[in-house]
Amino acid sequence: MAKPINSTETMLQAGNGRQGKPAIVALAGSPNVGKSSVFNALTGLSQHVGNWAGKTVEQKTGFSRYKGHLLQIVDLPGTYSLSANSPEEQIARDYIIKERPDVVVIVANAASLERTLYLLAETLELPAPVVVAVNMMDVAAGQGMHVETHVLQAALGVPVTAMTAAHGEGVPELLDAIEGLLAGRFHYMPARPELGPDLELLVAQIEGLIGEEAPAPYPRRWLALKLLEGDKQVTDLLRTRLPGERWRAAEVILHQHEDAVLGIAGARYEWIGRMIRAAVRRPRAGAISLTERLDRVATHAYAGPATLLGLLGLVFWLIYRVSQPLVGLLEGAVSASASLLRVALAGAPPWLSGLLAEGVLGGVGTVLSLLPLLALFFAAIAFLEDVGYLARGAFVADRFMHRLGLHGKSFLPLFLGFGCNVPAVLGARILDSKRDRLLTTLLVPLVPCAGRMGVLVFITGALFGARGPLVILGLLALDLVVIGLSGTLFRRLLFRGESPAFVMELPLYHLPNWRTIGIHTWQRLVEFVQRAGTVILLLSVMVWALAALPSGAIGQSYLAAIGRGLAPLGGLMGLDWRMMVALLASIVAKEQSIATLAVLTAGSGAPLVAVLPQLLSPAAGLAFLVVQMLFVPCIGTLTAIRHETGSWRWTALSVTYLAVLSFGVGIGVYQAARLFGLGA
């Protein structure tokens, strides 16, 4: 495959005069074509993860060296087309049109070549040198399919290479093709996607009306096509740019040919069909693929949900089984360092040792104890996504999540929220639309995590004895109702309008690519520590200060003062100031409620289990449980919400909603319970 290099200098001279700078190679492709594997194979670990300017869409860049030359690889978001229907599509097309990368690599999936080349048909309308990387040749072979890349290359007039990036196969060939194109050694004669005489006439008419007014850097033909496709952004652009008369003439034509969008897409697919016809060898008809067999179970009416729950249960068990001992070790290490620190700071003022040992180290402890959990969680999700199961799970869950106005994929983070809300919030990222991500993020804190459940079980045990399990069941039922109603409320108030479409590709199953999963997990962990870690530390110090200052005793602290200030509110629920302080303390970590109550009631000399029934009537106890269950989440979760929504406003909204909701339901439960004679 390797071609001789004529001149090692030419490559750097290509690329729009970027002498001395790396040539920019953009990776574009539909979802599920293994683009991440290609990116990882090209860049190794020299990756930088950030966000696209002004967007919450992840941007990954990296470098690759080939024959002494430096290539900067930019991973564009996975998109099926280049219309402006989502931020991802907008980013991909703006980058190709405005940033003018030296080469655009279209990554296609050999097992569904026709569909994954749709992006190529769109990209060839743009003035970008294109290389096609036909990836997942192994998956296609498993389906009995084979792609003759040299035949495809002859038909398309652009370099085409075969890859199985998951196994590192075809990487030198791709680099060689990129280099050959940059060096001008490839006879680049891209075929143009023809649309047929009727549509071409229409495009020519519109092009004529656009005339010389085509705003740079957009190609005129591309603008005409996008107008005919009804692209809102291009329509708005040309409405302001074209002289009124010409725009009105264009509008008349567009109005008459409203369905041109169907014809254009159809013609593109027809063109692709002609291009690939000779290059693709298909399997015998009637052969039953692995995906078909697995899907008979995974998407079955009954076996499907059972598989989903079974798999998620397994993930749940694995995460906590494996992370628990690690968390224990880390917490031990943190408390040991805290003791050491106290000894070392014995001479310093008590506030300083408190600040460092409790505030700072406490925050570090929170971050550290989350890491094993998050690592396993990210790895598990990446695994399910990589092998192709995630889409099936979403399909199965969509049946009932749909009723809550949620996307099927929301089920996964919400379910795993029972373990810990932090990864659940971070996991909302698997959702494709911003609306779904926000909605899921707002609902996650209503799922009682393991910490909350610990508190609930302890208190019901102390107050209701043998009837405790019944109370817990009742609480969980109430929680589900609250989640359902909250979902409806948010949808009605915050996300009015059409719910986004559930249109989702079910990719072919394939073996996991451990490298991709590993790199993904590592990047997300680093990101969490960098961005969320510092915020957790700061909040942790703040809450410590509130609880410890001014005197060092929590009973006289600012936190206690706030608790006393909230006593009138607590009175409506039969809760005294100590219970309110316990609730506030749960913002540090849910388990803190119990520890705080123990400190505040230490004066009585009896253990907390014995003190609680004196402190709380059954009605007040129920109210406290409900508030605890629905209350503002812990610092870790709050930070995650801030991180994922990218906005303090959404975070504040979440806090306010949960505070109002929990107290409201708490007051309702207390008053109702008193009516039923559970008071005093």
């Binding site: 097992a111 969008v261 169907l262 899907d295 998407t299 049946r399 749909h402 559930f502 249109v503 590709e505």
Partner: protein, 313 residues
């Protein structure tokens, strides 16, 4: 002794009854192509034999013995028609006259042999039920094609055995089992404009009145290609294939579907369609999950393969 002529009369009475037409002297005269006085004479002889009950100016009714004989003759006639077409390859406009002669010379043994040779044929080539066949078809609410409202699709049940009519229908592609759609009825002469498959045809009102058609079941109406035919993708049953026709959706969803390969003319196959909930569709080698609402917004036309078409008949 029952003559061949008497059998012909009994057969004619049975067929008029089958069609639900009044069995009068004039109707019989028309059916047997003889003058009314001849009919009257024959009716008296049949009454004497105890095969019918008849009083002048009243309707003729078969007695039990007469009905048995009538049914036997009709069965033999139709079995012969089937045999002549299916086994000997005669055309459907030739079989009637031949069968008219053969039916009278058929012994019960020969009749049984015919039945065995024909397997489980339920109707004659013109769509009339063979009495006593294992699969007697009963067309509910069948009526003349001339009475079908424009815009409706119907299935042809049977046609009358008139040579000229049969030749005319054959040229138009109209035969029992065929589905036609009545496009319009001429207000001037009652001639029908029909869609037979993809072809537009006209049929005069006299011919149309000699063709019996039945409405399609609603399920069938949806699943038939070639008639109103367009249906929502979400209504396509598991395993069925269809081609995309268009969308009833906003631009956003349309753009998304188009990019995924749901272009007009694209072939799709329903992989899974349970009651409620999302569906899985195979399009361009890709499995795509669509919400119920989204699947209802994609219009498709179902493809009926030959295997399925035969099952429907």
């Amino acid at each position: 002794m029952i003559s061949q002529q008497m059998e012909e009369y009994l057969e004619a009475i049975g067929k008029l009854e089958e069609r639900g037409e009044p069995v009068t002297t004039s109707a019989l005269a028309k059916e047997c192509r003889v003058a009314p006085p001849t009919v009257t004479e024959m009716l008296h002889r049949l009454t004497e034999q105890g095969l019918i009950s008849y009083e002048p100016r009243k309707e003729v009714a078969l007695t039990e013995a007469g009905r048995e004989l009538s049914t036997t003759v009709i069965r033999r006639h139709r079995l012969w028609e089937r045999f002549l077409q299916d086994v000997l390859g005669l055309k459907w406009d030739q079989v009637h006259d031949q069968a008219c002669r053969l039916e009278h010379a058929t012994s019960p043994d020969l009749e049984r042999k015919l039945e065995e040779a024909l397997g489980d044929s339920a109707t004659c080539p013109h769509g009339h039920t063979i009495p006593g066949a294992a699969l007697e078809t009963v067309a509910v609410s069948a009526g003349p094609l001339s009475a079908v409202e424009p815009g409706r699709s119907v299935r042809i049940v049977n046609v009358q055995e008139d040579g000229a009519l049969l030749r005319q229908l054959e040229a138009l592609g109209i035969a029992p089992g065929a589905v036609v759609r009545v496009e319009e009825v001429s207000p001037a002469d009652g001639a029908l404009t029909l869609m037979v498959g993809e072809q537009r045809q006209t049929l005069d009102s006299t011919a149309a009145s000699q063709v019996v058609a039945a409405p399609l079941s609603s399920e069938e109406a949806q699943s038939r290609a070639g008639d109103a035919g367009a249906m929502a993708l979400g209504d396509l049953p598991t395993g069925a294939a269809a081609t995309v026709q268009g969308f009833l959706a906003g631009r956003g969803l349309v753009a998304r579907c188009l990019a995924l390969g749901f272009t007009p003319g694209a072939e799709v196959q329903m992989v899974q369609n349970l009651h409620g909930g999302p569906v899985i569709v195979l399009v361009r080698d890709t499995r795509v999950a669509l919400g119920r609402g989204e699947a209802q917004k994609i219009v498709v036309r179902r493809e009926v393969s030959h295997g399925q078409a035969n099952q429907l008949h």
